[in-house]
């Protein structure tokens, strides 16, 4: 039985919502770091256990990020960020859409987006309009969108949501939320002093562009990425 991390009322609401909206099973891998982020790794496990308890279409797999096999897997999937500090988890990755990634807990303001991600993935439903899709169609090189957030930032979830939607429709894009509070060295490397802080990273790990502030309009966000890629290629 998972410890009470959500009220009974919220659990009931979630149950009704998931029962109504989940279609296909959703599998999520969580890499845990009980050495350097123990408190949040423990909480990550609780979130997973709770959601599995609420609806059996949701499956979580918990892996120890220091297990050599897991380490290999993380390396091959480009999930290890040892160059940005010694923390390896908790990291949440959706199995079917491995571009939907959370470094740190999807807690606070980010939790509703995590729940939405589950529903979107289960239904293979994209929340993207035609104009944004057209912009995204022109982005074909592999890239990572880093979205640095804090749990209390109410403007951050829009960016997490958009980047995850982009990752759903384009398998060359990874939308990576990074909880600055849980990965302080990572945030420090990117000089994050305000959130949301966005960095667009190319396949070689170079930062193509970065900025501070939310862009609520998905199309403008997609366009900004497209234009910065064009500038670099020129």
């Amino acid at each position: 039985m998972a410890e009470e991390i959500l009220s009974e009322e919220d659990k009931q609401t979630l149950k009704e919502m998931f029962d109504k909206s989940l279609k296909n099973p959703v599998e999520i891998t969580v890499y845990l770091d009980e050495k350097n982020n123990k408190e949040t790794s423990d909480f990550a496990r609780k979130i997973g256990e709770l959601l599995m308890q609420i609806n059996d279409k949701i499956k979580f797999e918990f892996l120890d990020a220091y297990d050599p096999k897991v380490e290999e897997e993380m390396k091959s999937k480009n999930l290890l960020i040892d160059k940005y500090g010694n923390r390896r988890g908790p990291i949440f990755v959706f199995k079917k859409y491995p571009g939907i990634i959370y470094y740190g807990l999807p807690s606070g303001e980010e939790f509703p987006i995590f729940l939405e991600d589950i529903i979107h993935v289960s239904n293979e439903h994209f929340d993207i309009d035609g104009a944004t899709a057209k912009k995204l169609a022109l982005i074909n090189e592999p890239l990572d969108i880093y979205v640095f957030v804090t749990p209390t930032c109410p403007y951050c979830p829009y960016m997490t949501h958009h980047s995850h939607q982009f990752a759903m429709v384009k398998n060359n894009i990874r939308g990576i939320m990074i909880e600055s509070y849980e990965f302080p060295e990572f945030a420090e490397k990117f000089k994050v002093y305000g959130v949301p802080h966005i960095a667009i990273i190319d396949k070689d790990g170079n930062t193509i562009t970065e900025w501070e502030g939310a862009i609520a309009e998905m199309e403008i966000f997609a366009n900004k990425i497209k234009e910065s890629l064009e500038k670099v290629s020129k």
């Binding site: 919220d10 909480f43 606070g108 729940l115 939405e116 109410p154 600055s180 994050v192 959130v195 609520a216």
Partner: protein, 323 residues
């Protein structure tokens, strides 16, 4: 920092009708209060907003709204939305880019994603945003207008808050949860903030006061490192080392969207409304921080009141066609 989970608002994607009785632009206290009342008047109501809660999101804890003690600002926005939805109001999370008055008296509303709607009446509740200092170095990293967002990044650091109103004191309290020291920098030695806020801040050992000083410049290579201050009484220049600077020196109204409709505004850009929330444009109402009302007391409770009044006026207008 305590970990918390809240369901918040999970947006649903649904096809929205084109025609509405009322479209409300903005989803803060004025907007959602208007939506609640419109719903109760059985008006078909759509709120178009970039975020849920508006400037409530910048507040850590709100404790001056009757009946809701010590509530998180962002949580309050979600509660307002839920209540309005009970009476049928719909929310679209987009931005309004244009409002046009049509020859038949209705309004056409266009969003950033190209959606087009028609409404019999419009309520503008776009609110305000924080005023900038307007000094050199303000674009440096580490200058922030949202303590709620950025405070966790300044764990064990030294930060400043510029301002002397409630927002500045709220910011200082949020920052004190994370930072090592918080300096409230204020141009006078008296505060506009409610006395209760000042008392609480004085009790907090991390919060210190730098009075009769204005920020002249913010210095740093990549991020804030130092601020240059000038004494408002002696003119003396000094400087202090800081890791971050939070600006809370007042608000500017977000009224740009209605300029093309020739709406009357005051010199600061607040939309001029009468006591019923009506503007000089027939069918166009406004409420909350974006307006000239009420006695300059810009609070959740006054914005909510204005929202309710504007909804009532919209209801009467739609029913009687009288303005």
């Amino acid at each position: 920092m305590p970990i918390s989970l809240s369901l918040g608002n999970i947006s649903t994607t649904e096809n929205l009708d084109k025609e509405w009785d009322v479209i409300i632009v903005g989803g803060g206290p004025a907007g959602y209060s208007a939506a609640l009342y419109c719903g109760r008047y059985r008006l078909k109501t759509l709120i178009i907003t970039k975020d849920i809660g508006g400037t409530l999101n910048d507040a850590d804890i709100v404790d001056d709204y009757p009946g809701l003690e010590n509530i998180k600002g962002s949580e309050m926005g979600k509660i307002f939305k839920k209540h309005a939805e009970k009476y049928g109001a719909k929310t679209l999370l987009e931005s309004v880019v244009r409002i046009e008055k049509l020859p038949d008296g209705n309004f056409k509303v266009l969003t950033n994603l190209g959606k087009e709607f028609i409404a019999k009446a419009i309520i503008i509740a776009t609110g305000s945003q924080r005023r900038k200092l307007g000094v050199p170095g303000e674009n440096l990293k580490g200058v922030s207008y949202c303590a709620e967002c950025d405070a966790p990044i300044f764990k064990d650091k030294i930060v400043g808050v510029v301002g002397g109103g409630n927002s500045a004191f709220h910011d200082a309290q949020v920052l004190a949860q994370h930072a090592k020291e918080v300096y409230i920098i204020h141009r006078r030695d008296e505060f506009r903030a409610d006395p209760v806020e000042v008392e609480e801040a004085k009790k907090n050992q991390k919060i210190k006061f730098i009075l009769n000083k204005v920020v002249k410049e913010i210095k740093g290579t990549e991020k804030v490192e130092e601020v240059v201050l000038q004494d408002t009484k002696t003119g003396e220049i000094s400087s202090m080392k800081l890791d971050g600077l939070f600006v809370a020196i007042g608000l500017v109204p977000l009224s740009e969207i209605v300029k093309s409709l020739n709406v009357n505004m005051d010199e600061s850009g607040h939309i001029i409304v009468d006591q019923c929330g009506k503007t000089n444009v027939v069918g166009l109402l406004a409420a909350g921080d974006v307006t000239t009302q009420i006695c300059n007391l810009r609070q959740v409770v006054t914005s909510a009141a204005q929202g309710a009044v504007a909804a009532y006026s919209a209801f009467l207008y739609i029913k009687t066609k009288k303005w």
